[in-house]
Protein backbone atom coordinates (compact mmCIF):
# COMPACT_ATOMS: atom_id res chain seq x y z
CA UNK A 1 0.00 0.00 0.00
CA UNK A 2 1.48 3.33 -1.03
CA UNK A 3 1.31 6.53 0.98
CA UNK A 4 -1.22 7.76 -1.52
CA UNK A 5 -3.43 4.68 -1.13
CA UNK A 6 -3.28 5.00 2.63
CA UNK A 7 -4.18 8.68 2.42
CA UNK A 8 -7.17 7.97 0.18
CA UNK A 9 -8.34 5.22 2.55
CA UNK A 10 -8.13 7.68 5.44
CA UNK A 11 -10.12 10.29 3.56
CA UNK A 12 -12.74 7.74 2.57
CA UNK A 13 -13.10 6.87 6.25
CA UNK A 14 -13.68 10.57 6.97
CA UNK A 15 -10.25 11.11 8.51
CA UNK A 16 -9.20 14.52 7.31
CA UNK A 17 -5.55 13.89 8.11
CA UNK A 18 -5.32 11.89 4.89
CA UNK A 19 -5.63 15.17 3.02
CA UNK A 20 -2.33 16.42 4.41
CA UNK A 21 -0.57 13.36 3.00
CA UNK A 22 -2.13 13.89 -0.41
CA UNK A 23 -1.11 17.55 -0.40
CA UNK A 24 2.47 16.64 0.47
CA UNK A 25 2.62 14.10 -2.34
CA UNK A 26 1.06 16.19 -5.10
CA UNK A 27 1.42 19.86 -4.22
CA UNK A 28 4.57 20.70 -6.17
CA UNK A 29 3.51 19.11 -9.43
CA UNK A 30 -0.01 20.49 -9.09
CA UNK A 31 1.24 23.99 -8.33
CA UNK A 32 3.56 23.97 -11.31
CA UNK A 33 0.78 22.71 -13.54
CA UNK A 34 -1.53 25.49 -12.40
CA UNK A 35 1.28 28.02 -12.72
CA UNK A 36 1.90 26.90 -16.29
CA UNK A 37 -1.71 27.69 -17.12
CA UNK A 38 -2.14 30.84 -15.04
CA UNK A 39 1.35 32.34 -15.01
CA UNK A 40 0.79 33.63 -11.48
CA UNK A 41 2.09 32.09 -8.28
CA UNK A 42 -0.66 33.33 -5.93
CA UNK A 43 -3.39 32.25 -8.33
CA UNK A 44 -1.77 28.84 -8.69
CA UNK A 45 -1.77 28.41 -4.90
CA UNK A 46 -5.46 29.38 -4.71
CA UNK A 47 -6.38 26.96 -7.45
CA UNK A 48 -4.45 24.03 -6.01
CA UNK A 49 -5.85 24.66 -2.53
CA UNK A 50 -9.33 24.66 -4.02
CA UNK A 51 -8.52 21.46 -5.90
CA UNK A 52 -7.52 19.64 -2.71
CA UNK A 53 -10.70 20.83 -1.01
CA UNK A 54 -12.63 19.53 -4.01
CA UNK A 55 -10.88 16.19 -3.50
CA UNK A 56 -12.02 16.22 0.10
CA UNK A 57 -15.61 16.91 -0.98
CA UNK A 58 -15.67 14.29 -3.71
CA UNK A 59 -13.49 11.52 -2.33
CA UNK A 60 -16.55 9.38 -1.60
CA UNK A 61 -17.31 9.18 -5.31
CA UNK A 62 -13.71 8.42 -6.31
CA UNK A 63 -13.43 4.89 -7.69
CA UNK A 64 -10.42 3.17 -6.12
CA UNK A 65 -9.93 0.98 -9.18
CA UNK A 66 -9.01 4.06 -11.18
CA UNK A 67 -5.82 6.07 -11.06
CA UNK A 68 -5.91 9.07 -8.76
CA UNK A 69 -3.72 11.39 -10.83
CA UNK A 70 -5.90 11.89 -13.93
CA UNK A 71 -8.91 12.45 -11.68
CA UNK A 72 -7.03 14.96 -9.57
CA UNK A 73 -5.37 16.80 -12.46
CA UNK A 74 -8.68 17.13 -14.22
CA UNK A 75 -9.85 19.07 -11.18
CA UNK A 76 -6.69 21.19 -11.08
CA UNK A 77 -6.72 22.05 -14.77
CA UNK A 78 -10.42 22.87 -14.92
CA UNK A 79 -10.18 25.03 -11.82
CA UNK A 80 -7.17 26.81 -13.31
CA UNK A 81 -9.01 27.51 -16.54
CA UNK A 82 -12.12 28.69 -14.71
CA UNK A 83 -10.11 30.79 -12.28
CA UNK A 84 -8.48 32.59 -15.11
CA UNK A 85 -11.84 33.35 -16.66
CA UNK A 86 -13.13 34.80 -13.41
CA UNK A 87 -9.98 36.81 -12.96
CA UNK A 88 -10.29 38.27 -16.43
CA UNK A 89 -13.87 39.26 -15.82
CA UNK A 90 -13.09 41.09 -12.62
CA UNK A 91 -9.64 42.25 -13.74
CA UNK A 92 -8.52 41.37 -10.26
CA UNK A 93 -5.21 40.06 -9.01
CA UNK A 94 -3.55 40.10 -12.37
CA UNK A 95 0.14 39.48 -11.96
CA UNK A 96 1.65 38.47 -15.28
CA UNK A 97 4.26 35.78 -15.47
CA UNK A 98 7.00 38.14 -16.55
CA UNK A 99 6.88 39.79 -13.13
CA UNK A 100 8.39 36.65 -11.69
CA UNK A 101 10.57 36.03 -14.65
CA UNK A 102 11.78 39.59 -15.10
CA UNK A 103 14.39 39.29 -12.38
CA UNK A 104 16.59 37.08 -14.44
CA UNK A 105 18.71 39.15 -16.75
CA UNK A 106 22.32 38.02 -16.46
CA UNK A 107 22.64 34.89 -18.47
CA UNK A 108 21.74 34.68 -22.13
CA UNK A 109 20.30 31.21 -21.81
CA UNK A 110 18.14 32.36 -18.96
CA UNK A 111 16.91 35.31 -20.99
CA UNK A 112 15.85 32.90 -23.68
CA UNK A 113 13.79 31.03 -21.13
CA UNK A 114 12.26 34.33 -20.05
CA UNK A 115 11.21 34.94 -23.64
CA UNK A 116 9.69 31.49 -23.77
CA UNK A 117 7.83 32.24 -20.55
CA UNK A 118 6.41 35.39 -22.12
CA UNK A 119 5.43 33.51 -25.23
CA UNK A 120 3.71 30.81 -23.20
CA UNK A 121 1.89 33.41 -21.13
CA UNK A 122 0.66 35.09 -24.31
CA UNK A 123 -0.82 31.89 -25.77
CA UNK A 124 -4.57 31.37 -25.70
CA UNK A 125 -5.71 29.51 -22.60
CA UNK A 126 -6.63 26.16 -24.21
CA UNK A 127 -3.29 25.92 -26.00
CA UNK A 128 -1.36 26.78 -22.85
CA UNK A 129 -3.15 24.07 -20.89
CA UNK A 130 -2.45 21.54 -23.64
CA UNK A 131 1.27 22.38 -23.70
CA UNK A 132 1.55 22.12 -19.92
CA UNK A 133 -0.13 18.71 -19.85
CA UNK A 134 1.96 17.42 -22.71
CA UNK A 135 5.37 18.81 -21.88
CA UNK A 136 5.31 19.25 -18.13
CA UNK A 137 3.09 16.38 -17.01
CA UNK A 138 4.26 14.27 -19.94
CA UNK A 139 0.74 13.03 -20.68
CA UNK A 140 -0.21 11.25 -23.87
CA UNK A 141 -3.02 12.64 -25.98
CA UNK A 142 -5.64 10.21 -24.67
CA UNK A 143 -4.93 11.19 -21.08
CA UNK A 144 -4.93 14.85 -22.03
CA UNK A 145 -8.34 14.46 -23.65
CA UNK A 146 -9.64 12.90 -20.43
CA UNK A 147 -8.22 15.67 -18.29
CA UNK A 148 -9.30 18.50 -20.58
CA UNK A 149 -12.71 16.97 -21.24
CA UNK A 150 -12.44 17.29 -25.00
CA UNK A 151 -11.87 14.97 -27.97
CA UNK A 152 -8.36 13.72 -28.82
CA UNK A 153 -8.56 15.60 -32.10
CA UNK A 154 -9.08 18.84 -30.27
CA UNK A 155 -6.06 18.08 -28.10
CA UNK A 156 -3.96 17.49 -31.21
CA UNK A 157 -5.21 20.66 -32.76
CA UNK A 158 -4.42 22.75 -29.68
CA UNK A 159 -0.98 21.21 -29.32
CA UNK A 160 -0.26 21.80 -32.96
CA UNK A 161 -1.32 25.43 -32.80
CA UNK A 162 0.53 26.06 -29.54
CA UNK A 163 3.72 24.51 -30.85
CA UNK A 164 3.50 26.38 -34.12
CA UNK A 165 2.97 29.72 -32.39
CA UNK A 166 5.90 29.13 -30.06
CA UNK A 167 8.07 27.93 -32.88
CA UNK A 168 7.22 30.87 -35.09
CA UNK A 169 7.72 33.50 -32.44
CA UNK A 170 10.88 31.94 -31.05
CA UNK A 171 12.48 31.25 -34.39
CA UNK A 172 11.78 34.87 -35.33
CA UNK A 173 13.82 35.87 -32.29
CA UNK A 174 16.79 33.74 -33.44
CA UNK A 175 17.20 32.12 -30.05
CA UNK A 176 20.39 30.18 -29.92
CA UNK A 177 18.95 27.49 -27.70
CA UNK A 178 16.52 26.49 -30.43
CA UNK A 179 17.80 23.78 -32.74
CA UNK A 180 19.95 25.26 -35.46
CA UNK A 181 19.07 24.91 -39.14
CA UNK A 182 20.58 21.81 -40.67
CA UNK A 183 23.55 22.43 -42.90
CA UNK A 184 22.46 22.92 -46.47
CA UNK A 185 18.82 23.29 -45.45
Amino acid sequence: VTDQDAAIDELKRGEIVGLASLVKIHQLKALRTAYGILGDRAEAEDVVSDAFLRVLDRIASFDRRRSFEPWFYRIVVNLAIDYRRKARRSEARSEPAEKHLGRATELDAREMRIDLGREIAALPRPERAALVLRYYLDMDEESMATVLGCPVGTVKSRLHRGRERLRRSLSNSEHDWLPKPAEGA
Binding site: L53, G149, G153, T154, P179, A182, A185
Partner: protein
Protein backbone atom coordinates in the same frame (compact mmCIF):
# COMPACT_ATOMS: atom_id res chain seq x y z
CA UNK B 1 11.64 21.77 -31.13
CA UNK B 2 9.53 19.52 -28.94
CA UNK B 3 12.50 19.04 -26.67
CA UNK B 4 13.26 22.75 -26.60
CA UNK B 5 9.66 23.58 -25.72
CA UNK B 6 9.61 20.85 -23.07
CA UNK B 7 12.83 22.09 -21.48
CA UNK B 8 11.72 25.70 -21.65
CA UNK B 9 8.31 24.92 -20.20
CA UNK B 10 9.75 22.90 -17.33
CA UNK B 11 12.16 25.68 -16.50
CA UNK B 12 9.35 28.23 -16.72
CA UNK B 13 7.18 26.42 -14.16
CA UNK B 14 10.16 25.58 -11.97
CA UNK B 15 11.11 29.25 -11.85
CA UNK B 16 7.55 30.18 -11.00
CA UNK B 17 7.10 27.62 -8.23
CA UNK B 18 10.17 26.81 -6.16
CA UNK B 19 10.74 23.23 -5.02
CA UNK B 20 10.38 24.17 -1.35
CA UNK B 21 6.90 25.67 -1.78
CA UNK B 22 4.58 24.19 0.83
CA UNK B 23 0.84 24.78 1.03
CA UNK B 24 -0.03 21.94 3.40
CA UNK B 25 -0.87 24.29 6.27
CA UNK B 26 -2.89 26.60 4.04
CA UNK B 27 -4.96 23.72 2.67
CA UNK B 28 -5.48 22.03 6.02
CA UNK B 29 -6.58 25.25 7.70
CA UNK B 30 -9.22 25.78 5.03
CA UNK B 31 -10.24 22.13 5.14
CA UNK B 32 -10.69 22.12 8.90
CA UNK B 33 -12.61 25.43 8.78
CA UNK B 34 -15.17 24.01 6.41
CA UNK B 35 -15.21 20.46 7.69
CA UNK B 36 -18.82 19.46 8.27
CA UNK B 37 -20.29 16.64 10.30
CA UNK B 38 -20.84 13.54 8.23
CA UNK B 39 -24.61 13.79 8.44
CA UNK B 40 -24.61 17.24 6.87
CA UNK B 41 -22.32 16.13 4.11
CA UNK B 42 -24.44 13.05 3.52
CA UNK B 43 -27.53 15.21 3.11
CA UNK B 44 -25.79 17.36 0.52
CA UNK B 45 -24.60 14.24 -1.26
CA UNK B 46 -28.20 13.06 -1.55
CA UNK B 47 -29.33 16.48 -2.79
CA UNK B 48 -26.50 16.47 -5.31
CA UNK B 49 -27.35 12.98 -6.51
CA UNK B 50 -31.00 13.94 -7.06
CA UNK B 51 -29.97 17.08 -8.94
CA UNK B 52 -27.52 15.09 -11.08
CA UNK B 53 -30.21 12.54 -11.92
CA UNK B 54 -32.63 15.30 -12.91
CA UNK B 55 -29.94 16.94 -15.06
CA UNK B 56 -29.08 13.63 -16.72
CA UNK B 57 -32.75 13.09 -17.57
CA UNK B 58 -33.00 16.57 -19.07
CA UNK B 59 -29.88 15.95 -21.15
CA UNK B 60 -31.24 12.62 -22.36
CA UNK B 61 -34.54 14.19 -23.41
CA UNK B 62 -32.80 17.08 -25.16
CA UNK B 63 -30.43 14.75 -26.98
CA UNK B 64 -33.30 12.50 -28.04
CA UNK B 65 -35.15 15.45 -29.52
CA UNK B 66 -32.05 16.64 -31.35
CA UNK B 67 -31.82 19.90 -29.45
CA UNK B 68 -28.49 19.25 -27.82
CA UNK B 69 -25.08 18.46 -29.16
CA UNK B 70 -22.92 15.94 -27.35
CA UNK B 71 -21.52 17.70 -24.30
CA UNK B 72 -17.79 17.27 -23.93
CA UNK B 73 -16.03 19.59 -21.53
CA UNK B 74 -17.10 22.77 -19.82
CA UNK B 75 -17.21 24.95 -22.90
CA UNK B 76 -19.26 22.57 -25.05
CA UNK B 77 -22.39 24.18 -26.41
CA UNK B 78 -24.94 23.88 -29.17
CA UNK B 79 -24.37 25.13 -32.66
CA UNK B 80 -27.19 27.65 -32.33
CA UNK B 81 -25.77 29.08 -29.11
CA UNK B 82 -22.26 29.17 -30.51
CA UNK B 83 -23.47 31.06 -33.57
CA UNK B 84 -25.36 33.52 -31.41
CA UNK B 85 -22.30 34.13 -29.23
CA UNK B 86 -20.00 34.26 -32.26
CA UNK B 87 -22.10 36.99 -33.84
CA UNK B 88 -21.72 35.70 -37.39
CA UNK B 89 -22.74 32.74 -39.48
CA UNK B 90 -20.84 29.59 -38.48
CA UNK B 91 -19.79 27.55 -41.47
CA UNK B 92 -20.64 23.85 -41.24
CA UNK B 93 -20.10 20.84 -43.46
CA UNK B 94 -22.97 19.91 -45.76
CA UNK B 95 -25.17 17.20 -44.27
CA UNK B 96 -24.40 14.74 -47.08
CA UNK B 97 -20.62 15.21 -46.80
CA UNK B 98 -20.29 12.15 -44.57
CA UNK B 99 -18.89 14.18 -41.69
CA UNK B 100 -20.55 13.77 -38.32
CA UNK B 101 -20.53 16.76 -36.00
CA UNK B 102 -20.11 15.56 -32.45
CA UNK B 103 -19.08 18.60 -30.46
CA UNK B 104 -19.32 22.37 -30.61
CA UNK B 105 -17.24 24.69 -28.49
CA UNK B 106 -17.20 28.42 -28.07
CA UNK B 107 -14.19 30.32 -26.73
CA UNK B 108 -14.99 33.92 -25.87
CA UNK B 109 -12.66 36.74 -26.84
CA UNK B 110 -9.99 37.59 -24.31
CA UNK B 111 -8.14 40.87 -24.00
CA UNK B 112 -4.56 41.15 -25.11
CA UNK B 113 -2.34 40.13 -22.16
CA UNK B 114 -0.36 42.90 -20.53
CA UNK B 115 2.85 41.04 -21.34
CA UNK B 116 1.97 40.28 -24.96
CA UNK B 117 4.53 41.03 -27.62
CA UNK B 118 4.09 44.33 -29.49
CA UNK B 119 1.86 43.83 -32.50
CA UNK B 120 0.25 40.65 -31.21
CA UNK B 121 -3.52 40.45 -31.46
CA UNK B 122 -6.04 39.75 -28.69
CA UNK B 123 -7.78 36.38 -28.90
CA UNK B 124 -11.07 36.80 -30.72
CA UNK B 125 -14.32 34.93 -30.34
CA UNK B 126 -13.71 31.46 -31.66
CA UNK B 127 -16.04 28.63 -32.57
CA UNK B 128 -14.61 25.15 -32.67
CA UNK B 129 -16.40 22.25 -34.35
CA UNK B 130 -15.29 18.64 -33.96
CA UNK B 131 -16.22 16.27 -36.76
CA UNK B 132 -15.66 12.61 -37.38
CA UNK B 133 -14.93 12.04 -41.07
CA UNK B 134 -13.28 9.30 -43.12
CA UNK B 135 -11.69 7.69 -40.05
CA UNK B 136 -10.17 11.02 -39.16
CA UNK B 137 -11.00 13.69 -36.64
CA UNK B 138 -11.54 17.09 -38.15
CA UNK B 139 -11.21 20.11 -35.89
CA UNK B 140 -12.62 23.25 -37.42
CA UNK B 141 -11.95 26.63 -35.88
CA UNK B 142 -13.69 29.77 -37.07
CA UNK B 143 -12.60 33.30 -36.23
CA UNK B 144 -13.97 36.59 -37.55
CA UNK B 145 -11.27 38.70 -39.19
CA UNK B 146 -12.06 42.37 -38.46
CA UNK B 147 -10.24 43.48 -41.61
CA UNK B 148 -11.27 43.18 -45.22
CA UNK B 149 -7.72 42.29 -46.21
CA UNK B 150 -6.83 39.05 -47.94
CA UNK B 151 -6.15 36.04 -45.74
CA UNK B 152 -2.61 36.11 -44.39
CA UNK B 153 -1.13 32.79 -43.27
CA UNK B 154 2.27 32.41 -41.60
CA UNK B 155 4.24 29.62 -43.22
CA UNK B 156 7.88 28.79 -43.84
CA UNK B 157 8.78 28.96 -47.50
CA UNK B 158 9.92 25.71 -49.08
CA UNK B 159 13.44 27.09 -49.61
CA UNK B 160 13.64 28.90 -46.30
CA UNK B 161 15.37 28.07 -43.05
CA UNK B 162 14.33 24.89 -41.31
CA UNK B 163 14.68 23.87 -37.70
CA UNK B 164 16.82 20.77 -37.39
CA UNK B 165 14.63 19.00 -34.87
CA UNK B 166 11.33 20.01 -36.38
CA UNK B 167 11.22 17.16 -38.85
CA UNK B 168 10.62 19.82 -41.46
CA UNK B 169 7.37 21.38 -42.53
CA UNK B 170 5.23 20.18 -45.37
CA UNK B 171 4.61 22.24 -48.45
CA UNK B 172 1.98 24.96 -48.26
CA UNK B 173 0.14 25.86 -51.45
CA UNK B 174 -2.77 27.99 -52.55
CA UNK B 175 -5.34 26.07 -54.54
CA UNK B 176 -8.51 27.12 -56.33
CA UNK B 177 -11.42 24.71 -56.00
CA UNK B 178 -14.87 25.48 -57.38
CA UNK B 179 -13.89 29.11 -57.81
CA UNK B 180 -12.68 29.59 -54.22
CA UNK B 181 -9.10 29.80 -53.00
CA UNK B 182 -7.77 27.67 -50.15
CA UNK B 183 -4.43 27.54 -48.34
CA UNK B 184 -3.46 23.89 -48.12
CA UNK B 185 -0.87 22.44 -45.72
CA UNK B 186 0.53 19.01 -46.47
CA UNK B 187 2.52 16.48 -44.48
CA UNK B 188 6.30 16.52 -44.77
CA UNK B 189 6.28 13.74 -47.37
CA UNK B 190 3.44 15.46 -49.21
CA UNK B 191 1.23 12.37 -49.19
CA UNK B 192 -1.67 13.82 -47.21
CA UNK B 193 -3.34 17.12 -46.49
CA UNK B 194 -3.09 18.07 -42.81
CA UNK B 195 -4.92 21.37 -42.83
CA UNK B 196 -6.87 23.73 -45.06
CA UNK B 197 -7.56 27.38 -44.35
CA UNK B 198 -9.79 29.81 -46.17
CA UNK B 199 -11.50 33.13 -45.60
CA UNK B 200 -15.15 33.59 -46.47
CA UNK B 201 -16.65 36.62 -48.11
CA UNK B 202 -18.17 37.34 -44.68
CA UNK B 203 -14.61 37.63 -43.24
CA UNK B 204 -14.77 34.38 -41.28
CA UNK B 205 -11.43 32.55 -41.32
CA UNK B 206 -12.06 28.82 -41.28
CA UNK B 207 -9.25 26.41 -40.34
CA UNK B 208 -9.76 22.69 -40.77
CA UNK B 209 -7.22 20.38 -39.19
CA UNK B 210 -7.26 16.71 -40.14
CA UNK B 211 -5.89 14.15 -37.72
CA UNK B 212 -4.64 11.97 -39.24
CA UNK B 213 -4.16 13.74 -42.55
CA UNK B 214 -6.36 12.89 -45.52
CA UNK B 215 -5.80 12.49 -49.22
CA UNK B 216 -6.28 15.66 -51.22
CA UNK B 217 -9.58 14.45 -52.69
CA UNK B 218 -11.02 13.38 -49.35
CA UNK B 219 -9.95 16.59 -47.64
CA UNK B 220 -11.57 18.77 -50.30
CA UNK B 221 -14.62 16.54 -50.51
CA UNK B 222 -15.32 17.86 -47.04
CA UNK B 223 -13.77 21.35 -47.03
CA UNK B 224 -15.53 22.45 -50.20
CA UNK B 225 -18.94 21.64 -48.72
CA UNK B 226 -18.70 24.17 -45.89
CA UNK B 227 -21.49 26.71 -46.16
Amino acid sequence: VDQSIAEGLVEYVEQGIRADTDIVEQVMRRAIDRHRPFRTRFRWTVVGAVAAAAFASAVAVAAATGNLSLKVGPSATTLARAEQAFGAHVFTARADSGAVLYAVYFWPATPRPANAEPGSQPARNEVELAYSYARSRVDVTEVLDPTTEALNVDALGPGGAKLKAAGGLGAVTIEAVNGSEYVVGRSVDGSVVEWIIWKSSTRVVVTTHFGPGLTHDLAFALAATFR
